[in-house]
Every structure is written in structure tokens, then in C-alpha cells.
């Protein structure tokens, strides 16, 4: 068997929000998978549903969210059919998450040692207090924190932003999860600290052989850390493929527009391309292709019918009437 198995697989997953008595669809027929040992990037702008995608896996959606259908398979088992008790066993042990803002996601009144220890206490009940403390200190050392014995007894406010994010990662990897969901893990960090944290995540992945689903809006971070990418726009995948597919052969007009609107660090750019208009809100989604109102290559069919995500080459899929697989020139 040459191809690694799928750890996580979305199948026609749909969810939306209840807004003023009405249900507005956001995520519409999401299908993609994270293969064992790979790093998948989920890219999109604000409001495209990328964070909701991650929260859906852990079943931690806000109360206004409504799941309409589809499946999220973890090792072949549908997470949406699990009971809350079963989910509690999975969260933190098999699937763990790193959030964007380490200050708001750590508890300010507990030491970092207690917060890392909590995961072990819940998922490794056989472990004694002394062993738990030793494991916590080892974890802190693994994520690159100097003086872990002292740091263990400190509170989050005594740590810098970069160190807090390292603590978040230590909590997430405490039970060696099979998949790590990282939602904008470096967005709140400074450039030189971001580089440290990204290098750390790569290193831990190598050690544990786990998979990562990295959610970000930063195409640079994706190009440097992921092996495969899913580009989302307003709740749908518009393009997916390997890093080379997306950055060397971008096909969907949205992907091309995004890449063209980035100023370059390595060469001088002329006037930047910009995609006209702005990202639609969940109440104002169009029928047909949701990108159509901003698309320069729009045709009549685009505003009427939804394009299907189909392969244009092996592993490289595009959902577009004009540039996609079934396009008529």
C-alpha cells in the first residue's frame, strides 16, 4: 500500500448559522481528507468558514451553529454520530487543538503546569502525581522552554506571547494526538517568534508521526509548512492540491487573484492586482458560484449553478465553470 490512509475525512459536510429565526448556510458540501503524517493547510479569508471547519471536528461549535448533514470521519468513525461522553475521550487525546490567541485560551488562575497536567490527569488516569509532574516538565522542555522546572509553577501572565503559545502546543501534544488542529497558531506572534513556533511544530510532527491540519490566512506560512492545501471561499472549497499545484499552477480565479494580490518580499512588484469587492457575509451568499460577483472571468452559468470540485490533474481539484475540469473554452 503506497498511499497513507486518511486520518480525518470530511464527506459532504454542511453547516450554517441560525440568524434571526432563519438558518443561513455557510459550509456547503465540504469534502477533503487529511492523510496520515501529512500537513494540510486550510486557507481562506475571514468568514470563509475555516475556523468553523476545525471546531466542527471537535464538536465545539457555537450554539447558533446548525449542522445539516454529511460526515466527519476520524479513523473511519463518524464523529458527528458520537455521544458527548465519547467526544470527551477523543478531545485532547486523539485530536487536539492549538488556538490563535494563547492569552485567552489559557486559564489565568492556574499555573501552566496544572493546565498541562489536567490533560494527563483526564486521559492518563493511571499516572501518579510525581510522574505527571515529570512528564509535564519534559513536555515543557520539548517545546523549547528554558528552565521548565520553574516555568511549570508560573502563571500565564508571567510568560511572553511566544512562550504561551509553546505552552498551548505542550498541552495539545501531551497525549501524542493522531491529529493536531492548529487554528492560526502564529498569527498573534511576532515574525521572529513565528519562525520559532513553526519550526517547533515541524519538529514535533517529525517526532510523533502525527498529522496536522493548519488553518491560516497566511499563504506564506502555508507554502513553507504544508504538503497539501485546501483553498476555501465562503464555505466551499474552490481549489485543492499539493503545494506545487497551488503555488506553481494556480487555476481557480480566486486562488490566482489571491496570489497576485500579495506584495513580494523577494522582488519588486508593479501595481498590485486586487480582487474587486469584498468577502460576502453569511446572510448574503449568492446562488451558483459564491465567488462569481467578484470574478473577472464570470459567465452566465456561474451565477446560476454551483460548480463541482473536480480533478484537473491527479490530486489537483478545482471548482470552476471557466477554468475547472469540465470547462468549455
Amino acid at each position: 500500500m503506497g498511499t497513507p490512509r486518511n486520518v480525518l475525512e470530511f464527506r459532504k459536510y454542511r453547516m450554517g448559522f441560525r440568524i434571526d429565526e432563519q438558518v443561513c448556510d455557510l459550509i456547503d458540501g465540504l469534502s477533503f481528507s487529511v492523510r496520515e503524517g501529512s500537513v494540510l493547510g486550510v486557507v481562506g479569508e475571514s468568514g470563509c468558514g475555516k475556523s468553523m471547519t476545525a471546531l466542527s471536528v471537535l464538536r465545539l461549535l457555537p450554539t447558533a451553529a446548525v449542522v445539516h448533514g454529511g460526515e466527519i470521519l476520524f479513523n473511519g468513525e463518524n464523529l458527528l454520530a458520537k455521544t458527548e461522553k465519547e467526544m470527551e475521550k477523543i478531545r485532547g487525546r486523539d485530536i487536539a487543538m492549538v488556538f490563535q490567541e494563547p492569552m485567552t485560551s489559557l486559564n489565568p488562575v492556574h499555573t501552566v503546569g496544572q493546565q498541562i497536567g489536567e490533560v494527563l490527569r483526564i486521559h492518563r488516569p493511571a499516572m501518579g502525581a510525581d510522574e505527571r509532574r515529570q512528564t509535564t516538565i519534559t513536555l515543557l522542555r520539548d517545546v523549547g522552554i528554558a528552565n521548565p522546572e520553574q516555568r511549570c509553577d508560573q502563571f500565564p501572565h508571567q510568560l511572553s506571547g511566544g512562550m504561551r503559545q509553546r505552552v498551548m502546543i505542550a498541552i495539545a501534544v501531551a497525549c501524542r494526538p493522531q491529529i493536531l488542529l492548529a487554528d492560526e497558531p502564529t498569527t498573534a506572534l511576532d515574525g521572529t517568534i513565528q519562525a520559532q513556533v513553526l519550526a517547533l511544530m515541524q519538529e514535533l510532527k517529525q517526532q510523533t508521526q502525527g498529522s496536522i491540519m493548519l488553518i491560516t490566512h497566511n499563504l506564506g506560512v502555508v507554502a513553507e509548512t504544508c504538503s497539501e492545501v485546501v483553498i476555501m471561499y465562503a464555505g466551499r472549497i474552490v481549489e485543492s492540491g499539493t503545494i506545487e499545484d497551488i503555488f506553481d499552477r494556480p487555476t481557480h480565479p480566486y486562488t490566482r487573484g489571491l496570489l497576485a494580490s500579495l506584495p513580494s518580499l523577494v522582488s519588486d512588484s508593479g501595481e498590485l492586482y486586487s480582487i474587486p469587492g469584498s468577502v460576502p457575509t453569511v446572510e448574503n451568499l449568492e446562488p451558483g458560484c459564491r465567488f462569481a460577483p467578484r470574478c473577472s472571468q464570470r459567465r452566465d452559468i456561474c451565477t446560476r449553478e454551483v460548480p463541482v470540485l473536480a480533478d484537473v490533474a491527479a490530486g489537483h481539484a478545482v471548482a470552476c465553470w471557466v477554468t475547472g475540469a469540465g470547462a468549455t473554452p
Binding site: 479569508e45 515574525g191 519562525a195 506564506g220 507554502a223 503555488f247 500579495l262 498590485l272 468577502v279
Partner: protein
């Protein structure tokens, strides 16, 4: 080109909270001796990480903060000590665009009202009727429609709000715009629209920009000159092309190396700095960067390097270049 703004020995210390019967316990050295000229018509980018003092620099120039020491001269006149009517008169000339377009607009004022207010206060418009016409023109200039003046901020997207923030900054006809992370909160597809707008306004109105950002790709796109700050000091100041071709300071090199690039082309190995940005309450002795510097030498721990001009227009604060030439 003449210097529109001359900053000399500018310092800003924030006192830490003191308890009763206690003298001040210490200071955050936000700005520690900044010397720079802002030339007429240029875009000077200020780059740095959190705690570098880049935002404090912008806020001190527009007098949102009072300088602790040093001077800021606008067209030869010291503005750091102005008060009352003369301070208000000066404010027309330098305006600021803030990072968060959601937080910087009053939700209870219509856009038209928010834009007309500064013009009425500064008597740029005699009455509301005149101001209304001017607001329509301003909105057109930033790519919005005149009838949008009647709407409240909540009705606009992030990009549109940032356009309104820019229109408000332009309402008094400033010569200098200070943009503090003005595109950082925007989505990629909207960010390029706003960057292009800044460039267009510069061509149309002959504006001078102080562009504060942490995004080096943005710096490369908008700047004429680049200034890198670290812990309240300038560590490198250079023309844009010279900076991106041959930056000199080890910190500048690490910053550029750490910036992720959206491309599959192979890159040189990243310089990953060890450690954290030190605390600005007790900045390190000698060179402030020595605690993280990959090329640290013996002298760096004790002797603070001066900011020296090593090539025409290219200044660097580092001992590696002190002995040369």
C-alpha cells in the same frame, strides 16, 4: 527634497505605576534617542516587532504622547512643545490612520458626520452644507460613493471602513500621513486594494508617509526608505533597494529570513533567532540585540554601538561595521 519632519534625540519613557510613598519604580524605554528626517514626498517605513517602539514613534509625532526628551520639528518649527491654538493648527498637517477600522470609528455617528466634524472644528468648512459637499468629494477620493455618507459604520466591510478611516485622515488636507499597521487587520484580497489606494493618494496629493508595519513584503511594496527598530532604537536605516539587496544588521537579516514567502522556490536556510524580545524596562547592556544576535562579539555585551552611516544613506547600529572602512 527637503526634510519635512526632523526628529532629534527623541525619547519617550513610560513610568511604571508607583505605589504611595514610593518613587517611580522604573521606566519602559519605548523610544530611546531616535534621530531621523522624514523627507518631503517620501514613504518611510518603520519596521519592528512588538515592543520596538514603532507605534509610540507615530503617536509621539502626532502628539498623542508627550515626548520625554528631544525635539520634533515640522518645517523648521519645534512642535513637541506646542500647546493650545498652535497645537491645533499643527494637527491639520499630520494625520494618522489606525490599524483597526472597527475600533477607530464612532458607531453612533454617520460616516458623513464623522468626516465633517474635523473640517468644522478646524474651520475648513464654514457650515454643514459646505462640509457635506467636501465629504462627498473625500468619499470619492477613497473609492466610496458620496451617498454612503448617510450610513453608519456597521454597514461597511473592513476594507470600506479602512477607506473611511483614510478619508477622515485626509479631511484636513494633511501633508503627512502616519499609517500605524493600517493594512494589517485586512484580508489579503482587500489589503492590496488599500495599498494601491495609498500609492494613488501619494501621486495625486503629494503626500508624505510614515508607514508603520511589521510586514516586510508590504514594506518592499510601498517604501522609499526603510527604518528598522529594536527596543526603542533605530538599528538600520537605508534606501529601500539597498536594504532589500544588502541589509547589514543581523536583526534585519533575521527579520527578512523569518518572513514566510508564498512560493515553492527553494530558499536559503532560515535564521531562527534564539530567545525572546527582551523587556524594555531593563534593556540589555551594550548592544540591545546582543542577547539574541547570531554574530555576537565580546564588545557587544558592554559597548553600545552608535548608528553610523556606512554607505551613502545607509545607516547601521552594529559593531560588525564599526571597524570597517
Amino acid at each position: 527634497m527637503s526634510a519635512l519632519l526632523q526628529i532629534r534625540g527623541l525619547k519617550k519613557y513610560f513610568g511604571l505605576k508607583k505605589s504611595l510613598f514610593q518613587r517611580e519604580r522604573g521606566y519602559v524605554h519605548a523610544l530611546d534617542g531616535i534621530d531621523v528626517d522624514l523627507m518631503e514626498g517620501e514613504t518611510l517605513s518603520v519596521v519592528g516587532e512588538s515592543g520596538s517602539g514603532k507605534s509610540t514613534l507615530g503617536r509621539t509625532i502626532v502628539r498623542l504622547e508627550q515626548a520625554t526628551a528631544g525635539s520634533i520639528s515640522y518645517q523648521g518649527r519645534d512642535i513637541s512643545t506646542l500647546s493650545g491654538a498652535s497645537a491645533q493648527e499643527f494637527r491639520q498637517h499630520i494625520q494618522m490612520v489606525f490599524q483597526d477600522p472597527y475600533a477607530s470609528l464612532n458607531p453612533r455617528l454617520t460616516v458623513g458626520h464623522a468626516l465633517a466634524e474635523p473640517m468644522l472644528v478646524h474651520r475648513k468648512a464654514a457650515n454643514r452644507e459646505v462640509a457635506k459637499v467636501a465629504v462627498g468629494e473625500l468619499l470619492g477620493r477613497v473609492g466610496l460613493r458620496a451617498e454612503m455618507a448617510a450610513s453608519y459604520p456597521f454597514a461597511f466591510s473592513g476594507g470600506q471602513r479602512q477607506r473611511i478611516g483614510i478619508a477622515r485622515a485626509l479631511s484636513l488636507g494633511p501633508r503627512i500621513l502616519i499609517c500605524d499597521e493600517a493594512v494589517s487587520a485586512l484580508d489579503v484580497s482587500v489589503q492590496s486594494q488599500i495599498l494601491n489606494l495609498f500609492n494613488q493618494l501619494k501621486r495625486d496629493l503629494g503626500l508624505t508617509y510614515l508607514f508603520i508595519t511589521h510586514d516586510l513584503a508590504v514594506v518592499r511594496y510601498v517604501s522609499d526608505r526603510v527604518m528598522v527598530m529594536y527596543l526603542g532604537q533605530v538599528v538600520e536605516l537605508a534606501p529601500r533597494d539597498a536594504f532589500f539587496k544588502r541589509r547589514l544588521h543581523p536583526y534585519s537579516k533575521a527579520l527578512i529570513s523569518a518572513a514566510p514567502i508564498a512560493s515553492t522556490a527553494p530558499r536559503e536556510a532560515k535564521i531562527i533567532l534564539q530567545g525572546e524580545i527582551p523587556n524594555a524596562i531593563n534593556p540589555p547592556s551594550g548592544c540591545r540585540f546582543h542577547t539574541r544576535c547570531p554574530s555576537v562579539m565580546k564588545d557587544c555585551h558592554v559597548v553600545e554601538p552608535p548608528l553610523r552611516e556606512v554607505e551613502p544613506g545607509h545607516h547601521v547600529r552594529c559593531h560588525l561595521y564599526t571597524s570597517a572602512s
